[in-house]
Each structure stands twice: as structure tokens, then as C-alpha cells.
């Protein structure tokens, strides 16, 4: 699975961190998303897709 993020769209709501804290984090300075793991294992698919679906700014893309 390949994950990409669009920092410019991110509004720092933190939904991705709640859904999959091992894949996403937020920068301390401005709360913008940080991708910890751009190629998470398939076992994390449900959580990562939930992160993408709940991101209010549609800043996360997941390619299977």
C-alpha cells in the first residue's frame, strides 16, 4: 500500500493520528500532518483507509 499526503490541504485536525498513529503524526510547530510510513504493511489497510476517509481536508491518498 502506498500513502501520499498533501501538506497544503491539511488543516491539522488530527483525525489521521487518531485512526493510525503509527502511520501519521503532526508537526509540533503547526500541527500539519507528517507521514511516518509511506508504505505501511497491508495489515494496516483498514486503519489507513479510515484515516483517509475521515480527513476533513481530503489530504490523504491511499493506493492499494
Amino acid at each position: 500500500m502506498k500513502v501520499t499526503i498533501d501538506e497544503d490541504r491539511c488543516v491539522g485536525a488530527g483525525q489521521c493520528v487518531l485512526a493510525a498513529g503509527d502511520v501519521f503524526d503532526q508537526r509540533d510547530e503547526d500541527g500539519i500532518v507528517v507521514l511516518l510510513d509511506p508504505t505501511p504493511s497491508g495489515a494496516r489497510l483498514v486503519e489507513v483507509e479510515e484515516a483517509a476517509a475521515s480527513c476533513p481536508a481530503l489530504a490523504i491518498t491511499v493506493e492499494r
Partner: protein, 396 residues
Amino acid sequence: MSEMQHVTERQPVTRTCPFDPPAEYRTLRDEAPIAEVTLPDGATGWLVSRYADVRAVLADPRFSARRRPLRTAAADAPVPPPPTGWFIMMDAPEHTRFRRLLTGQFTVRRMRQLAPAVERIVAEHLDAMAAAGGPVDLVHAFALPIPSLVICELLGVPYADREEFQRNSATLLRIDAAPEEVQEAQTAMNAYFRRLAADKRAEPGDDILSELVQSGELTEEELAGVGVLLLVAGHETTANMIALATMCLLRNPGQLAALRADPSLMDGAVEELLRYLSVIQYGVRRTAREDVELDGHRIPAGSLVVAALPSGNRDTTQFPGDPEQLDVSRTSRSHLAFGHGIHQCLGQQLARVEMKAALSALFARFPDLRLAVPVEEVPMRDDMIVYGVHELPVTW
């Protein structure tokens, strides 16, 4: 439009159960999910009631956040400009400038670090309740002070000044407030924050207001506006969620027992309560900047659009099973209680920490907590932008 004839042509406002949005929303979702209606303030607008459409509207930059606020006293008046610094009513890129200054202060990590301090405040208030003995009004003894103290602490507002700002912010949230009253409350709070900002400039503290002053990014007037917005948005919402969630759990003893038996359900229960109770009861408003085609409806430029959060949160297509039932074991994270799109609640991680700390400790401390009056006598906040209870007499 024939499909609208057997449904209401007004935004539904009358509840039959204190925890359910008006039942007409069910018919609207099935039969007229995008409907032109009369709104509670007498204005005309498009009411959007399905989950998918609510999300679509709130994610779509063709709908501007600059909108007519819900005020029954001012339906014919021209739309007022947003108060300076109120980015909740601004669009990108203006909105982005304000939001980016603040998101770092409200990250998941920062808010989790705050949890021990919140738990301490919660415990102190429970001690005071226990010492005083029941019955007490849970709103004033517990649900309101906790988020008020926390947001004061974060912003650097002296909690001793709470009487004035709680009164003014209650005025801003009353849907029947007269325009002059609103103006007066706004002016008083702005003046208060300008004074406070001057104090912080002279003597900075370890708080958000001091950091904003020092960043040099905002004018005095913008700073004051941001302060007022954060204070208003940051205490009444959470206070009402805490009190209403308590009442709702007391009325759903099976769910409360499940939660007590398995505290690991608490994170999910907080999400479910947010979904189920959806306290931003009249939804959030937007204005179409251009003609927009939405599911076969042409929404003309300038139209007011209401995204009905409480209705979207009861949509069976998104929440399988029976979304009309409270189910603390449901996974409801993608609910709409905090909105959606670029304005999705800035303080949501703080609200989660506060609700979790407050509800866990309250039910652990008072296993026999119960309402001290018949449920019909609890005064509900039908007259406020944020739903909840005006008072909640409880005993144990």
C-alpha cells in the same frame, strides 16, 4: 416540486425525545434530502440532510463560510460582516492564515499531554461535589467549570473573570438575542481581550495568547477576535456535551453498565455520544458563491445552505445497524459532530480529552448518580445554537 409536498417546508425544530433530532429529518433524508425551506430565523435556505451531501457541501469551496448567522431577531437585516479575527466565517486563503497559526497548539499530542492536568481539575470538582452533598446542578458544579478552566488556562485568561465572559458568550449563542445585545456582548469581549493582549505584551506568560502576541502575525483587533472566538467556541460546546452525555447515559442504563464494565469502550463511547447528540443542533451554515448543481438541484449564487449535522449523523447509509439507538460499542469516528472540511473543529482533540476525563471520573466516583428531578423537568436548550441542558439536577 411535488416531492416536497408531503414533507415539512420548514427546518424541523421540535423534538419529541430530548436526545433525538426532530423526527421529520428522517422523512427529509428519504424524500427531500436537499430541500428549499424556511429556516428558524425566517430566512429561506437549502436544507441538506443526508450524511454524504453534508460532507459534500462542507468540503466544497464553492460554498463560502461567510454566512447569515442564525438569529431569529434579525432575519431581514443585511448579512453582517464577520467579526474581525473570526476565521470560522472566513474562506481560504484568509482562513488558512489564522488556522495555521493555531493548529500547532491543538495537536493530538499536545492535547494528550494536557490530560493529567484536566484529570486533576475534574477530581477537584468531584471532591467539591461530594463535600457539598446532593442534589447539585451538574452544569454549574461540574460540566461548565471544567472546560472553562481549561480554555482559560490554555489561552491565558484569568478564570476569575469568568462571570462576565460566560454571560457574554451565552448571549452570542442565544438564537433570539437582539442585534444590539449581540453587538454589545461582542464589543465587551473584544475590549476585554485587547486589554489582556496588552498585558501579555508587557508580561508574556506560557499561553496561546502570549504566543500569538509575540508572533507578531496579527493586528490588535485580529488578536482580540481570535481570543473571543476561541473562548466562546471552547467552553460552551464541551460543557453541553458533558452534561447532555451524562443525562443520556443515565437514561440508557444498559449502555452505561456496558461502559462501566469495560472502560476500554470509553474512547468509542465519546465518539458515539458526539454523533448521537450532535449538539450543534441547527447545523452549520454556508453561502453559495456561484450557482451550484447538487444532486439535480440548482442552488443559485447567494443562497444560504444549511448542513444539518444532527441529521447526517443519523443516516443509516453511513451508520449501519440502527443509528437512532445509542450504542457505545459502535465505531462512529467519521461522524459530523465537529463538522467537516477546512473548518472542522480546531478544538476537537481538546474536547475529546475533556469529555473522556469528565465522564470516566464522574461515573466512577458516584456509582449511584441519578437525576434529582423527573426527566420532563430538565430545562433543555432549544433556544441555543449549542444544544444541551440549562441545568441538570443530580444526586447520588
